[in-house]
Symmetry: C2
Subunit: 136 residues, 2 copies
């Protein structure tokens, strides 16, 4: 199991308390928006700058330590780069979850139909999560 410090070093980023915190928050919550990150960060670093969040998010995204997930009709969230997966967004409680499903078939089909050589897929599904289904 890789430490957060190693993770930063592998991506040629200096190990700072703010960066450790950003990664810790993403590990804990899975998906967070810029605003989420800023608000949570303020609890531990009361005079962190919003620019620090932006600069770090942009750098970590460039080195592919994290990635942006664009959500339909909502703000982007960020997540640690792991194995490829799909995103589920609940219309009711707005949570974002990962699910791991093979995408080979749809990619193969898309390549056949379009002639593209596909490098990466971005799949987000919108609906009602099990918990919110139970509530209705």
């Amino acid at each position: 199991m890789e430490t957060t410090i190693e993770l930063l070093k592998e991506h040629a980023l200096k190990v700072t308390p703010q960066r450790l915190k950003i990664i810790a928050m993403l590990n804990e919550y899975g998906h967070l928006s810029i605003e989420d990150l800023y608000r949570l960060m303020l609890k531990e670093f009361p005079n962190v700058s919003l620019a620090t969040i932006y600069k770090n998010i942009n750098q970590m995204a460039q080195t592919r330590l994290i990635q942006e997930v664009k959500i339909p009709d909502s703000k982007s969230v960020y997540e640690i780069v792991k194995e490829p997966h799909l995103h589920m967004v609940c219309d009711r409680c707005h949570k974002v979850e990962d699910i791991i499903i093979g995408t080979d078939k749809i990619i193969k089909e898309a390549e056949a139909v379009s002639g593209y050589r596909i490098e990466e897929s971005f799949i987000t599904l919108r609906g009602i999560c099990p918990a919110c289904q139970a509530d209705s």
Copy 2:
């Protein structure tokens, strides 16, 4: 075949030259960003306001005449709402294309794995288009 005027009326939007032009541009080009729409619009309506673009795009999106397509690492584009489809983005020439492929299988699988009731899917695939493959 439905006229653009009918399309606007069905969505309870007044038929204005600017709206007709927006729809005509989207029909011609398929996918356009706010900036694209504004720059093209200026050729025919030299004193159109950027606010007009935003207001119309927002209204047309609310009535589901058009929809936003969020593109990884790029700006959103807008398209006329047609049947469900996937988006292909070329890494080289940055064009966005629709392709029509059944998504039933992946949605069924995602529902089974996650327990979500899925309402809509957003699938974007990134790669190299046939033309750009030929160029390399």
